[in-house]
């Protein structure tokens, strides 16, 4: 493979990688489903994955990927044809093939070559071949001769033909014209067909337009040909016979052009474009849920056929020249066919002249008939476009700036004291628009959790096999949308939580039966919008958390000291999130090192999320991840200490009050406690953390804000609450790094910078400060 890769090629490769990755992600869960019920539709989808990956990889010369995909395809084809019975090993094998492909794609993405995957590819392909061999031996009575090379390796349309058990429409036009039972086409498949079709047609259109202006460019013809060819293949697969027929005819013409034949018109681009429009119309139809019928198909096809002039030989036959002789003449064709025939005495000059005249006439006629092809431009229906994430981020940043700018404008100090009725009206209008824009921008980043959830199917499958447990994973609320960054951040936590549920939570089948439960455990994975947050809930019906065991372990590790009988269940359950904490007596390869829960906590903190744990012994555990809807903008309470103003996230604030001396208690250690109704909360002084001089150190002169963090509550002492405002979160500079107690900063209406306090680390940094003071 040459290493001179230009930008175009890189783009193609990158597209290939993202597309394939998407497909694998989509199909992996389906492969597992395949093990449970062999649905022909799923089978086909998986087959298509490997097939198109093979095709693209082959085109891009990623030989190792091609090899593995080909082997997987072979296996699938045999299964699909009913020659091999699907066994669980095959599912595992196919999953492995997916894993290999993922690795290979990663490699391709970084190095633009898959050469380093050689050994892995050999191994993988060998495994697949072995599986085929073994399966064949099992089916010894089955004649194995036909299975050697079950699929054509190159052309897209041919490979969907194999005589399958389930009714896949073949691409043979005569067969397809019969009302064959159609392949069940899901909406999803339809959508992907429409998207792909749109893309192919658009590319072809661009190619045609370019070629129309520059007819000498034969390279672009090849490109157009490929686009139409792929489109035809797709149509064939989906059984859109008419579209297939038309595209087939277009392909024929392009083929003629490619080989340099003369056509009825100098440049058939216009006619081809008209046909393209027809196809586009049909694709639009399909996206609307119709069948993509082309009404005047015959006429269209005929028109295209007119473009291709019949060969001279055909007219010569009409003139009574022996067909055989013409064939021979064509074979020796160096000079015009006519001349040869005359030379050989097989045809008289008159006959040839007549034939030539007829050919000319025919061409003329065709020219006249084909001219009126007027393009009716039908715009493509765009479902979605791919946008670089960084562009989106900068758009959202800009909107953040706009919010700040709007604040600065509306609350401009210059306006204070002025009567500005009209200005205020305009200002309000603008505020509304800005808010809408902001909300819209937020939704752009939101993607459904289904992708994330479906990835878990594979995980659960793998673990349940490893741990010897039977599990039903139920997904609820897959359509719930969450910010893309959040999805990335909660992927790892979900993996760890599910692992825990499966490894510790669910009992082995015999134990379950003994306690009167069903043999199969159930894990619910739910996503929903609740209370202005997104909740992701993992719930199992296993044995539940063992309160005593957790406590015992915590005491032995010195995480809890003294009397623990007072601890609430909640506080005890929260201990499982401490780093290094594990109640597992043995470290298995699934879990037990005490790392996972720490990851869960840390990642959730990153996105300002919370974790709730509830558990009933013997009945199961429920872990709720509560995640704020947006990351970029929060509701904040502006508080003041001395001359400094800071922002507190409103979500963590429970209440605020002006304390009286009677409410305050000071412990012998010097800790201040505030009594709020029946509870005592420790007091943290913000001025001590920020090292500022407050207006007063006397508690009754200021305000106590009750904050909640991971189930524990405390009071924060500030001078006053200034107000509430929508806050656009900005990171502190990389140069500064992380600052304890501060999660970021924002720009206030007056243009000043204000720090956003991080409730979680406030507690920690307050404790640390105290420690330092004591020592």
């Amino acid at each position: 493979m040459s290493m001179d890769i230009d930008n175009d090629q890189i783009e193609i490769i990158q597209e290939f990688v993202t597309e394939s990755q998407d497909m694998i992600e989509q199909l992996e869960p389906q492969i597992i489903e395949l093990g449970q019920n062999s649905d022909p539709e799923i089978m086909n989808a998986i087959f298509r994955l490997f097939h198109s990956m093979k095709g693209s990889a082959g085109f891009l010369e990623f030989d190792h990927i091609t090899r593995v995909a080909h082997a997987a395809e072979n296996l699938l084809d045999l299964i699909r044809n009913g020659e091999i019975e699907l066994v669980p090993d095959h599912v595992t094998l196919l999953c492995d093939a997916c894993d290999f492909s993922k690795d290979a794609l990663e490699n391709v993405n970084s190095d633009y070559t898959d050469s380093s995957m050689g050994p892995a590819a050999d191994e993988m392909a060998e495994k697949l071949h072995q599986a085929i061999q073994i399966a064949k031996q099992v089916n010894a009575e089955e004649p194995a001769a036909t299975t050697e090379e079950p699929t054509g390796a190159t052309s897209g349309s041919d490979t969907v033909e194999p005589a399958t058990v389930e009714p896949v429409p073949t691409t043979e036009p005569p067969a397809a014209e019969l009302e064959l039972p159609r392949l069940e086409i899901t909406d999803e498949m339809r959508l992907s067909f429409v998207q792909e079709g749109n893309e192919l047609l658009q590319n072809a259109e661009q190619g045609l337009l370019a070629w129309g202006e520059n007819p000498g460019d034969t390279e672009s013809i090849g490109d157009i040909f490929r686009q139409i060819h792929s489109f035809k293949g797709n149509c064939g697969f989906f059984g859109f016979v008419q579209m297939e027929k038309l595209s087939h005819q277009m392909e024929n013409i392009l083929d003629r052009v490619k080989s340099g034949s003369q056509l009825a018109v100098e440049n058939p681009a216009d006619q081809l474009l008209a046909s393209l429009d027809v196809l586009q119309q049909a694709v639009n139809d399909i996206s609307d849920g119709k069948e993509g019928i082309i009404e005047d198909l015959e006429q269209r096809v005929q028109q295209l056929q007119l473009l291709v002039p019949p060969l001279l030989g055909e007219f010569l036959v009409e003139e009574g020249v022996a067909e055989k002789a013409i064939h021979q003449a064509v074979k020796t064709q160096k000079k015009p066919v006519g001349e040869i025939l005359v030379e050989q005495g097989k045809a008289s000059p008159v006959q040839v002249d007549n034939a030539l005249k007829k050919q000319q006439e025919n061409l003329k006629k065709a020219k006249q008939e084909t001219k009126p092809a007027v393009r009716t431009k039908t715009p493509a229906k765009r479902q979605d476009i791919r946008v670089d994430l960084s562009k989106l981020d900068s758009l959202i940043n800009l909107i953040g700036e706009l919010v700040i700018g709007e604040n600065m404008l509306i609350h401009n100090p210059d306006l204070i004291g002025l009567e500005l009725e009209s200005f205020n009206k305009a200002g309000q209008h603008m505020s509304k628009l800005v808010r809408e824009l902001q909300e819209m921008a937020m939704t752009i980043r939101m993607i459904p959790v289904s992708g994330l959830f479906r990835r878990m199917i594979r995980l659960v499958h793998d673990i349940s096999v490893k741990a010897g447990k039977k599990v039903d994973l139920v997904l609820v609320g897959e359509e719930t949308e969450i910010d893309k960054t959040v999805i990335e951040t909660i992927t790892d936590p979900l993996v760890h939580l599910l692992r825990n549920s499966l490894d510790h939570g669910l009992e082995p089948p015999d134990e379950r039966l003994a306690t009167g439960k069903t043999e199969k455990g159930t894990v619910h994975l739910t996503a929903s919008h609740e209370e202005g947050e997104v909740w992701v809930v993992i719930e199992d019906d296993g044995r539940g958390l063992d309160r005593d065991k957790i406590l015992e372990k915590a005491i032995s590790k010195g995480m809890v000291d003294g009397d623990s009988s007072e601890m609430s269940d909640k506080a005890i359950y929260n201990l499982i999130f401490a780093p290094g904490f594990s109640t597992a007596d043995q470290v298995t390869d699934i879990s037990g090192r005490g790392v996972g829960m720490d990851v869960v906590k840390r990642n959730l903190e990153k996105i300002k999320g919370k974790i709730d744990v509830s558990s009933t012994p013997g009945q199961g555990t429920r872990i709720t991840l509560r995640i704020p809807l947006t990351l970029a903008i929060i509701d904040g309470m502006l508080v003041r200490v001395g001359t400094t103003t800071c922002i507190m996230p409103t979500l963590s604030i429970l209440e605020a009050f002006r304390p009286t001396m009677e409410q305050m208690t000071i412990t012998p250690e010097g800790d201040e406690l505030a009594r709020v109704r029946e509870n005592f909360f420790p007091v943290i002084r913000l001025h001590e953390i920020l090292e500022k001089e407050p207006a007063s150190r006397n508690l009754p002169d200021g305000i106590l804000i009750v904050l909640e963090y991971q189930g524990s509550r405390f009071c924060l002492f500030v001078d006053e609450i200034v107000g509430q405002q929508q806050t656009v979160i900005k990171g502190l500079s990389e140069f500064i790094g992380n600052v304890a107690g501060v999660s970021g900063c924002t720009i206030l209406g007056d243009g000043g910078v204000s720090l956003i306090l991080d409730v979680g680390s406030l507690v920690e940094s307050a404790e640390k400060k105290k420690m330092n003071l004591k020592h």
């Binding site: 400094t644 140069f735 500064i736 992380n738 600052v739 304890a740 900063c745 910078v753």
Partner: protein
């Protein structure tokens, strides 16, 4: 964008230094790094920072940290006045403001007129000196902005903050 400008002007920016005044001495930094010069403005303090990191400012919606060069070189403090400036520099896509007493001019100092830095450094600042630039009789202390911002000492200080 900034990169393009830098590339375009690579030649024209060569040997050009922005000179400024600090505690009675003249200093210079390569113009290449300078984004803009702004007057002193309200700085928001950030807790747990070394004393020479004064805090952060709002530069047209961007929050950038501000370093006081006097404090960095352990020179005596001085009240900010209307001549005090913040020079905004960009190094490796990190923008930092540098507080100086007074900005003077852009000076052309060809490499031939730059002497290597003195070996004996008694002040905290001497290790950040890139060379001594001569313009006629005047001498400008040319600072290595990279070292100023990313010296090991600086990294250690920041790392220390991260831990707390």
């Amino acid at each position: 964008m900034a990169d393009d400008i830098m590339l375009d002007n690579e030649d024209t920016q060569k040997d050009k230094y922005l000179t400024f005044h600090l505690a009675g001495e003249d200093y210079g930094i390569e113009i290449l790094y300078v984004i803009e010069i702004i007057g002193i403005q309200k700085i928001t303090e950030v807790p747990d920072m070394p004393a020479f990191i004064r805090g952060v400012i709002n530069l047209r919606g961007k929050v950038i940290p501000v370093m006081d060069i006097r404090a960095r070189f352990a020179l005596p403090d001085r009240e900010y006045d209307d001549r005090t400036c913040i020079i905004v520099v960009n190094i490796d896509e990190v923008e930092v403001g540098l507080v100086v007493d007074e900005v003077s001019e852009v000076a052309d100092i060809p490499a031939a007129n730059v002497e290597p830095p003195p070996k004996t450094g008694k002040s905290a600042g001497s290790q950040y000196i890139q060379g001594m630039g001569k313009i006629g009789k005047a001498v400008k202390i040319l600072l290595d902005v990279h070292k100023l911002l990313f010296s090991e000492e600086m990294q250690a200080l920041i790392a220390e903050q991260d831990e707390t």
